[in-house]
Symmetry: C2
Subunit: 249 residues, 2 copies
DNA sequence: CTTGTAATTGTCAGCTTGATAATTACGAAA
DNA sequence: TTTCGTAATTATCAAGCTGACAATTACAAG
């Protein structure tokens, strides 16, 4: 290849202004299970538009970050969790780019699904710069509109995040990411019940899930009443055939 | 809410320059099946970088377009297909935003999966502005690197597009989007074999798929040898349990 | 030692699967 | 028009899986 020709080609590529430019943000759908209920982290907006309404946490993607980098950084900033140590599951959900989704300017948002491992107690969430407040909210209450709907198109993003998680839990052990590294079958079943919003038969759940788990040999100290439960670790590998999600009544 | 206060809040939101800006493109993974082989549309780059290498078709997202709008427009521009009439399946795949994925500047790409309905003959593809050439290439040959790898991170995008399609065909009838509106079970089986790159037992395939299809009552005129086949239409609804994909030898 | 509760294992009829064979329906050659 | 080859479709069957539910085991607390 000719050097000067290559240089000429290179220089005539994209002139500034040839292309439309957008602001890129990373929004987070952060799930955790507490009290047998699936919860999502939301911030109350401190400025217009949608001032006072609940929204997903998020922020701009920096010039030398990927969207996934930004998602990790935002998560650390808003929860104060040490992500280098905690096993936190983050995966990209989808990108939302309707031209008028933010009335101020062109903002394209890459939504991410985040699963926080908790032992029943939710970590504090601190809103970002323009957030007045932040906290945990029950997903199914938010989605059924018992409370007011979310800012921007965040209700849709939350719904698609829930669908992604619920669907993936049919054929993977990703639900275990909402639990500590070692957990009992009852804890895992509780996660399924929280995400699917439906009860599961304990016996059949154990039978289907056990081959996907690695027995640590350890047992919990029995709670008030009941036998001690075995502690498991999740393994990789797809569940086939998948665990059937109870059909809507 | 106080009008002047609201206005003040509004005006002090995002000043230009407060946020990093990026160029947004929509890239297409366009699949079609021909001769029992899964094919992908690729263009040969006419300019640097990666001049002369194969790449996915794509282009910039316009100021008043969503990424999905742009995907539709690009597809129409590069195939000349009348998308208003043809049933073409388009869905978002994922967004690629590594800071240096394009050596020239910050380009974030929203990849889309496109399924073209064909009757065995592939439509012409005409590259975009900076494409020297365009055509159809066998997916599995491209991915196994028998040919040189694709420009940018497009090999990865292609792989993830294939995985998305292959996975979704386990539990939906989306594969029928690669066929005309009415098709035979053998045609549909051929699509599965092309995408999964594995043979399927005809009898069991029929048994499993039939409940997901609507019989048109029509039959094909028998080809040279063999009985005429019934023509079906796809229906919605998930296949449960899913069709098992043959495990890698 | 008894009781209550949770964990875990067992049972069973009915359904699904993979493998493979049998049957049916044509077009084309003899 | 009979025979032959091939593809479509249906059938068979043992093995595995499922949902529903019962039985057993293991603790803690009274």
């Amino acid at each position: 290849m000719n050097g000067s020709e290559a240089e000429k080609d290179y220089l005539q590529s994209y002139q500034p202004g040839d292309y439309p430019s957008v602001a890129l943000t990373a929004d987070l759908v952060v799930f955790a299970v507490s009290g047998g209920v699936l919860q999502v982290a939301l911030v109350r907006r401190g400025s217009h538009p949608f001032k006072g309404q609940l929204a997903l946490p998020g922020g701009f993607v920096g010039p030398m970050e990927s969207a996934d980098d930004a998602a990790h950084r935002e998560l650390a900033e808003e929860t104060g969790l040490d992500l280098g140590h905690l096993p936190v599951h983050i995966e990209q959900l989808a990108t939302y780019s309707a031209p008028l989704r933010d009335p101020r300017m062109r903002v394209v948002s890459v939504a991410h699904l985040v699963l926080l491992a908790t032992d029943g107690t939710l970590p504090d969430v601190t809103g970002g710069s323009d957030a007045a407040d932040a906290g945990w909210y029950p997903v199914y209450e938010i989605l059924t509109g018992k409370r007011t709907s979310l800012a921007f198109d965040h209700s849709l993003i939350l719904l698609e995040g829930l669908n992604r998680l619920a669907g993936k839990m049919e054929y993977t052990t990703v639900g275990s990411q909402l639990l500590p590294g070692e957990f009992t079958l009852t804890q895992l079943r509780t996660v399924y019940e929280a995400v699917w919003n439906a009860p599961m038969a304990p016996g059949n759940f154990t039978r289907k899930m056990t081959p996907q788990l690695e027995d640590t040999g350890k047992k919990t100290r029995a709670a008030a009443g009941g036998a001690p439960a075995a502690l498991f670790r999740a393994t990789e590998g797809h569940i086939h055939p998948p665990l059937a999600r109870p059909r809507g009544q």
